[in-house]
Amino acid sequence: MSQVGNILRLSFRDYTHEWRMSGCFVLALAAVLAPMMILFGLKFGIVSSMIYELVENPVNREIRPIGSGRYDPQWIDRYGDRDDVEFIIPKTRTLAASIQLKSDQSKRILSTELMATAEHDPLLANLASTPQNLFEIILSRGAARKLNLSRGDQVDASLARQFKGKRERVHLNLEVINIADALLTSRSVAFVHLDLLLATEYFKDGRSVPELGWSGDAVDGKSRSYPSFRLYARSIYDVENLVKSLEGQGVRVKANAAEIATVQSIERNLSIIFWIVACVGATGFAFSLGASLWGNVDRKKRDLSILRLLGFSSRRIVLFPVMQSLYTATLGWLLAVLVYLSFEQIINRFLAPRLKLDQTLCYLISDHFFWAFGLTIVTAIFAAIIGGIRAAEIEPSDGLRDI
């Protein structure tokens, strides 16, 4: 076995032989590292939960125009092509966007808000598909519950209008292809293909809809414009820019920009606080470990002098305290992880419910654990250099005479 191999073996044997002293070093490191991990876990957990709620709820990415406008299909398409826009779809007049639904499973007739939808609609992201034609419908959970409908059921949709002095009503048989998530809206909403939404507006305006056999005045051939739209930014961080872009075009809009800015500010401030605490803690730990290693090398001067006497070179002797520092760093990190995981469970399982918080308060991802390990090793090596220099400077003759 080479000198290096022998030094590794001897350093480990000495480390385990003095398990009490080694244990104290490990405990000291864990006592510094575990609270820092818990602090970071709280910061990451709380902020991540807040951001997750903002991000996951598409309503927070919605930008709604205030009042009515005139948005032609080309304008809609142009905004749909932007990288920071996830989804945009036109809306008709509010008064025209309603339909009455009736099912065989319920006695009631439900007046339901109509919303156009298409593929990639964030509100329906969890669903396999969206209505592909005039005869498919997705109901909100509230509407489905009131009508006692499930996926695959048929529902009778009807519209009424006053046309040339006569009251007219048309019926349409629609298939419920899915039920939307309960968290999206508590209102009774029906998501339909844009063509069906336009058809209901035409019907109520006295126009004909030949595809559905609804009579009326012919729709003029001019390209139409839409009074409003439903737009979602790709991420909450794109909302601000999009609002500026729309307002720059004279479109007054409403968005959750203030709430997003608040969360971003909290995240920034917590990060600053954490890194200040982490830097102070790491610096203190590095010097503390370095001083301990220095003292440890002095304590082991006799043994290190014997190793020099037996023929180990001073360069190899430096590895002795360096390796012991790495053992301390590894074991201290492991213990800190165990302590952290215990506290994480306590905080999330016992504390959060008591505070009536249904979010995860404290957690770390696996990357964080590896980063913590890496930083601990780097700090330990830095501290070990101090001990290593001391070990190399030992005059074996002086060390032996302490016997």
Partner: protein
């Protein structure tokens, strides 16, 4: 004619400890291969300092000549190695050619007796053979090989220290007051065994001692320290007396 193992001329080392100290002067010292040398003198006259310089772990202050020529190995000019701060070469010479026994043994407390004895052989990457068991049997510690040094008596520790110093067959054995911590009967037994052992292995023995009972058969080199009251700041000179 035996080869010269150590050749020293005008080697001087001064040591100051808490405002008092001594200057060790070696005008001339030649040790032949196979000799048994005892360095004697009063306590504090520099015996251990001389042994440390011979063990290549203490750098002399000035020297006209300091050479080591182990049997069947190349010579080294130690003065030049110290000037060049060639620690690697100094460590190599120690590893290959020198065995050292300290007053209290100097065993590593976290290794068993067997592992302590094997360590010099492992450093030289020597193959395992029965030399450990034969040396330990001769020295009477074959039953203690798997114990930690803390469980041994002082005599057993000293025997183990000799075994470690001899396990790699060095050509030079240095021993600093090896029997000082032992009772006279144990000391005599150990030294008798060791002397027989090194005679068979043709090892050059240099021991520092003021125990006349054990060194009377060896060639004496007497370190004389100048007389006078102990004074703060005074450096006492120690020189070999012919």
């Amino acid at each position: 004619m035996s080869a010269t193992v150590y050749s020293l001329k005008n080697v001087v080392k001064q040591r100051i400890i808490e405002n008092a100290g001594f200057r060790l002067c070696i005008p001339s010292l030649e040790i032949q291969a196979g000799e048994n040398i005892a360095i004697v003198g009063h306590s504090g006259c520099g015996k251990s300092t001389l042994l440390d310089m011979l063990a290549l772990i203490l750098c002399p202050d000035t020297t006209d000549q300091f050479e080591i020529s182990p049997v069947d190995a190349r010579s080294d000019n130690i003065d030049i190695l110290w000037q060049q701060k060639n620690q690697d070469r100094l460590a190599q010479v120690r590893r290959q050619h020198i065995g050292y026994v300290l007053q209290s043994g100097g065993l590593l407390p976290y290794l068993t007796v067997r592992e302590n004895i094997e360590l010099p052989r492992k450093l030289l990457q020597l193959a395992d053979d029965d030399s450990i068991s034969s040396i330990s049997r001769v020295l009477g510690i074959h039953r203690q090989l798997d114990k930690l040094p803390g469980l041994l008596s002082a005599g057993e520790r000293q025997r183990a220290a000799f075994a470690r110093a001899l396990s790699h067959r060095p050509s030079i054995l240095l021993a600093d007051e090896p029997t000082a911590a032992l009772d006279p009967i144990t000391a005599r037994k150990i030294m008798a065994v060791v002397m027989e052992l090194i005679k068979g292995l043709k090892i050059t023995l240099i021991t520092a001692s003021h125990d006349w009972a054990h060194v009377y058969k060896m060639e004496l080199r007497i370190l004389d320290q100048e007389a006078g009251p102990i004074e703060q700041g005074r450096i006492y000179q120690s020189t070999f007396r012919d």
